[in-house]
């Protein structure tokens, strides 16, 4: 019986394993290209195993772009966006989930409507605003508009409705705790897993953001990692063909995020899926 069950599972596992190979292969391939020389990239048949030229390629990347500077900029943007989003989104979500106040339904409906608006509708005027207040080329221009968002409020509201018992809030209120006190001492400690999810989600989004930084970060000396990598790519227009260097750059941009994801995101994937199914 058990053996029959095992045998029935061989085929699914085989197919899934092939899928995993396809899913992970591009990462392997970028390692192969980044560790061989540029001449190897053009070779036929291609080299299929990692080489020994990683250090040399990395050095070329560092010669061409301010890798660590742009990474630091990305870190600053991603961390400060995440902190602000966690605070503003959870506070608003807590309010929508647990308090009745005049206009709540209308305001929440409005929030959902805003969620649907496509970004490119507002990009040009947003750029004009940034130009007017002198934020073009600064990291503030990335952080402040992203400091609070409809998705996070919506998602956290679902989470708090289910995860935070009304009795706890009532008890705190009877003890005389104020609204903000209840948020800080009752709500926040209870929603840590939800906050962790929102943090990872926001951080990854901010780390990989491309369109808006491309528009607003006009100073080539002050850019984010994604822009720096793209710059490496645009710089390849025909005459220069250091593809091994280009691959080393992309690898360096991907690896920190992959490590962070595999370390911290154990429950993340399941949470995201659950949110999508229930939302």
């Amino acid at each position: 019986m058990l053996n029959a069950l095992r045998r029935r599972q061989i085929l699914p596992h085989a197919v899934l394993a092939i899928g995993v190979l396809i899913s992970l292969f591009p990462f392997y391939w970028s390692i192969v290209l980044a560790t061989n020389t540029s001449a190897d990239v053009f070779r036929y048949p291609p080299r299929v195993i990692p080489g020994t030229h990683l250090v040399e390629n990395v050095r070329h990347v560092l010669d061409n772009i301010d890798f660590f500077g742009s990474m630091l900029n990305t870190l600053i943007v991603a961390v400060s966006t995440t902190v602000l989003v966690l605070f503003f989104d959870s506070l608003a979500a807590f309010t929508f989930a647990k308090y009745a106040f005049p206009g709540r339904r209308v305001l929440f409906g409005l929030l959902m409507l805003i969620f649907m608006l496509p970004a490119q509708l507002s990009i040009i005027p947003q750029y004009m605003i940034m130009a007017k207040i002198g934020w073009v080329g600064t990291l503030r221009a990335l952080v402040i508009p992203a400091a609070v968002n409809a998705f996070g409020i919506f998602w956290m509201r679902q989470y708090i409705s289910r995860g935070l018992p009304d009795e706890l809030i009532d008890a705190a209120r009877i003890d005389g705790a104020s609204f903000f006190r209840i948020y800080r001492s009752v709500c926040l400690p209870m929603i840590r897993p939800g906050l962790a999810f929102l943090a990872i989600y926001t951080f990854i989004g901010a780390w990989n953001d491309y369109v808006w930084p491309l528009v607003v970060l006009t100073d080539p000396n002050k850019i984010t990692l994604q822009l720096a990598i793209a710059q490496l790519n645009f710089g390849q227009g025909g005459t220069i063909t250091d593809y091994a260097m280009l691959m080393a750059g992309t690898l360096m941009a991907v690896v920190p995020l992959l490590i962070a994801f595999t370390l911290f995101a154990r429950n993340f994937v399941a949470d995201l899926a659950r949110g999508a199914v229930q939302g």
Binding site: Q9, P12, V15, G19, I22, S23, P26, F27, W29, V41, F42, R43, Y44, P46, L91, A92, F94, T95, F101, P102, I114, L117, P118, Q120, L121, S122, I124, P125, Q126, M128, V148, I153, S178, F180, Y183, I204, N208, Y210, V211, Q226, I229, A230, N233, F234, Q236, G238, T250, A253, V254, L257, L258, F261, T262, A265, V269, A270, L272, A273, R274, V277
Partner: protein, 294 residues
């Protein structure tokens, strides 16, 4: 009203920021779309001229066509593949969390980096795909040098990046379907394929609807993949859309007009055109998938 001040204060940041960086820009872009303006100097009122130009602009319709083709070529295999992976994941007893992680990873990596990598893998002269085709004696294809090739390359990247993500969402949906249904089907003698089409797909319909709408909205607004993958084919303008403008998506065209040519008025008109088209498609999709329910 006054006694609710803490609540209003708590939700105010979203509405304040939205007013400044959302509502005002949206209204202003509508205003801009009735003007001729390069970002500097005088704004000139032109009424509906920008929209008239948009309707007769071949490049805009080409970009719509490109976007639709890329969207179809990525969404169909992506969602179908995701369903199959999810059904398989649901059927295995061990290794679920490993698989979940492995399938999810493509969706959290830098899109710019992966677009560069895919461009190299599909490169006509030294790409891996052509090398493999050559090795097994199949004809090679100039992927990154033809309008169709570039579309296929972009669609391949999108499929690869999002198939796992969607399968994880389907898996969560599958886990809400009671196991008794499958047992009953098995007793009635239904095979796995029949169960898949008769039980799994109908019960997953709400989740499928969700993924279809999300894929439509994001797919119709694809930009980064196209912009990075068509960036350096010897074109002078990096936003021109690659060979024969075959990779020029609607949002890339918007970006090109607004920020390469500083045509803010026309850019705003394109943005509204995209908004109407994407909205229409989202509603159409919703109708199509939702109607099959009865």
């Amino acid at each position: 009203m006054l006694r609710y001040w803490p609540q209003y204060l708590a939700i105010s940041p979203f509405y304040l920021l939205f007013a400044v960086f959302g509502l005002f820009p949206v209204l202003f872009s509508l205003y801009l779309s009735f003007h001729r303006w390069s970002g500097l100097g005088e704004r000139k009122w032109v009424g509906l001229k920008e929209y008239d130009f948009l309707i007769h602009d071949h490049t805009f319709w080409l970009s719509l066509w490109n976007t639709l083709i890329i969207w179809l070529m990525s969404t169909v295999p992506m969602l179908f593949g995701a369903l199959v992976i999810a059904a398989l994941l649901h059927s295995v007893a061990r290794g679920k969390s490993f698989y979940r992680m492995a399938y999810f990873i493509p969706s959290v990596t830098s899109l710019v980096a992966m677009a560069i990598l895919f461009k190299m893998m599909f490169s006509s002269n030294f790409g891996l795909i052509n090398a493999v085709l050559e090795a097994v004696n199949l004809p090679t294809y100039p992927w990154t040098n033809t309008p169709w090739g570039i579309k296929i390359s972009i669609a391949a990247l999108m499929t690869w990046q999002w198939v796992g993500y969607n399968s994880i969402i389907y898996l969560a949906g599958l886990q809400t379907i009671p196991g008794e249904l499958y047992e009953a089907a098995q007793i009635d003698g239904a095979g796995p394929v029949r169960t898949f089409f008769r039980i799994t797909i109908p019960l997953l319909r709400p989740v499928i609807l969700f993924t279809v709408v999300i894929s439509t909205i994001t797919g119709m607004q694809s930009f980064t993949e196209a912009q990075v993958m068509t960036a350096s084919n010897g074109a002078t303008n990096p936003n021109s859309g690659g060979p024969g403008q075959g990779g020029l998506t609607m949002v890339l065209y918007f970006y090109q007009q607004a920020f390469s040519y500083n045509d803010f008025g026309y850019g705003a008109a394109i943005a509204w055109g995209i908004f109407v088209i994407v909205g229409a498609f989202a509603v159409l999709n919703w109708r199509l998938v939702a109607r099959q329910e009865d």
